[in-house]
Amino acid sequence: MSAVSEEVEPLLALRGVSVTYHTAEGPLPAVRGVDLTLAPGEVVGLAGESGCGKSTLVSTVLRLQPTGAEVDGEVLVLGQDVQTISWGKLRALRWAGASIVFQGALHSLNPVQRIGRQIAEPITLHEPELRPEQVQRRVDELLEQVGLSASRARSYPHQLSGGQKQRVMIAMALACRPQLIVADEPTTALDVMVQAQILDLLRDLVRDLDVGLLIISHDLSVLADVCDRVLVMYAGRIVEAGTAGEVFVEPLHPYTAALSGAFPRIGDPAARYAPAGLAGDPPDPRSLPEGCSFAPRCSRAVDRCTHAEPPLVEVHGRPVACIRAGES
């Protein structure tokens, strides 16, 4: 998509990825034909609300989708097709090639194990030849890298605040020196100030370690703040993509505009006593509306929107899936 990804081999390349769950009530297409590339040193955001398929999409990056989910298209991580490689290669790729900080990760720390031991676990699994003191040194380094003191290794999760736990989760994700990190809602449960601290940390890590970072969030303002590029997902498809500034400040798709307007600019008189919302719920993927899946909630929808699903085409130099995007 960008000039950079043409020259350097992308860390992550999704090509026409679709994921379908086969449920008792029939097939459920959760992701429908997503293309995405991520280069080293790049931060890409994926925005969308609950149920849009963003977490399902993330699960395919390390072949973590539930059994029975049918994945079509190519998922390339460091040039390897994750969906078809052997278990041995996949195992090597997990943690060491790419790692994921899952949503709700704050609660996934083991409450009865010290932090240091939990960070050490993936290291000892992937590098069994390391001596205990070398592992210890690596744990200390990781804690310092995420802004915690090395003495924190002896703490239990309940002794840490939410922000500190999130730092531990990031340290774990960095444990085996991956080149690609995926963070699913990394700041959602956190306070504004702690959120700012975590976002600063992620920015620093990308700059210092030259890793690629994919951030998933429903908060477009957070993505606009840290990402180079942002993709917006609705009902399993990408509906708009562009630089973070373009997508947040000059959204072309009405859905992007609604996400962007949900967080008011403080000081904007138009937002006083006028919270911007989007009526209705996202569609059931089992029975998507005819034509554009956003049309039933769209204030700009006209009759022809329901004729066919709008393709993702270039409008003002960036991909948008809305037949009215070019109109003023």
Partner: protein
């Protein structure tokens, strides 16, 4: 309406202390003055550990102040079981975690009717409506229409936004004069957030209901609040109208909070290090001084207040409705002639 009684709800010098496991006293609230006029939307903002949730619980009578008092219509709260029951009918709480606050084995109807039954409004209310009519009215006021379609649904069949609306309906069913909402939208999707906030505003407009919203989200306050109280470590450190506090902040803490809101681009972000300190070890002098960016960059030194910041405690901000900040630097700057 408010002419004869003054504010509907008031806190005067409220302090709440807990004894920690080590035997230290932790002051979760350390002297708070607050007043909530009828039909007003007040936002209490601050980080985790600022005491904002303890303040909401104290206003509701769930915590008894160690010092000071909470007044409703000018009379101190009576903490007897009987009086509390009557009070809670008039002042309702909407909790943070909608998914966790609904009983998974109760239908929507049962959840909303529970409060009506507890408060013995079940036969007929003052307008002669049956229980089912009251439940239906509350659900449709909360934007769940047609209400009958949801009566027999269980929480797992609802979306996040619908669950939050059911909780709000449960509070509305009792026709409260004031609703206390603790982070009402923080666990909701961006698209639903605006809808729930608009609902709170509409209820104020249509039913004259007051709202106290506890949040760390300044954008939410800008969207719906008339006035803001900024809390830090058990005290209100700045208060005023929403326009005053958010567009002309006085306290360095408020300025820092505003600067890290992601979408404000023209402000250089002031990311404070660390987190709100332990309330059992409240710093001497100004409680914010160890993290204060105005001290870190030498502003307080140049203004000649640095010693005061470290040593002189600040007074509790009075709830006069004026724009005020509890800050030594601001006191000097606002009394000094301009320029």
């Amino acid at each position: 309406m408010s002419s004869e009684t003054g504010p509907l709800l008031e806190a005067r010098g409220v302090a709440v202390e807990f004894v920690t496991r080590g035997g230290h006293a932790a002051r979760a609230l350390d002297g708070v003055d607050l007043s909530v006029p009828r039909g007003e939307v007040l936002a209490i903002v601050g980080e985790s550990g600022s005491g904002k949730t303890t303040l909401a619980r104290t206003l509701l009578g769930l915590e008894k102040p160690t010092r000071g008092e909470v007044l409703f219509e000018g009379r101190p709260l009576d903490y007897s079981v009987r009086a509390m029951r009557a009070y809670r009918r008039r002042v309702q709480m909407v909790l943070q975690d909608a998914a966790g606050s609904l009983n998974p084995r109760q239908t929507v109807y049962e959840s909303v009717a529970e409060g009506i039954r507890l408060h013995r409004l079940d036969r007929t209310d003052e307008q002669g409506r049956s229980e089912a009519e009251q439940v239906a009215a509350a659900l449709s006021e909360a934007g769940l229409r047609p209400p009958e379609r949801l009566f027999l649904r269980y929480p797992h069949e609802l979306s996040g936004g619908q669950k939050q609306r059911v909780l709000i309906a449960g509070a509305l069913a009792l026709r409260p004069e004031l609703v206390l909402a603790d982070e009402p939208v923080s666990s909701l999707d961006a698209s639903i957030r605006g809808e729930i906030l608009a609902l709170l505003l509409r209820l104020r407009q249509e039913l004259g209901m007051g709202v106290v919203v506890v949040t760390h989200d300044l954008g939410l306050a800008w969207n719906i609040a008339d006035r803001i109280a900024v809390m830090y470590l058990g005290r209100v450190v700045e208060c005023g109208t929403t326009e005053e506090v958010l567009t002309a902040p006085k306290h360095p803490y408020t300025k820092a909070l505003l600067s890290v809101v992601p979408e404000i681009e023209d402000l250089e972000p002031v990311v404070l290090t660390g987190e709100v300190p332990d309330p059992s070890r409240i710093p001497f002098g100004c409680r914010f001084h160890p993290r204060c960016p105005a001290r870190a960059d030498g502003t307080t030194e140049r203004a000649g207040v640095d010693e005061a910041c470290r040593l002189e405690p600040l007074e509790v901000l009075p709830a006069t409705g004026e724009h005020r900040a509890a800050c030594h630097l601001d006191r000097v700057l606002s009394t000094a002639p301009p320029g």
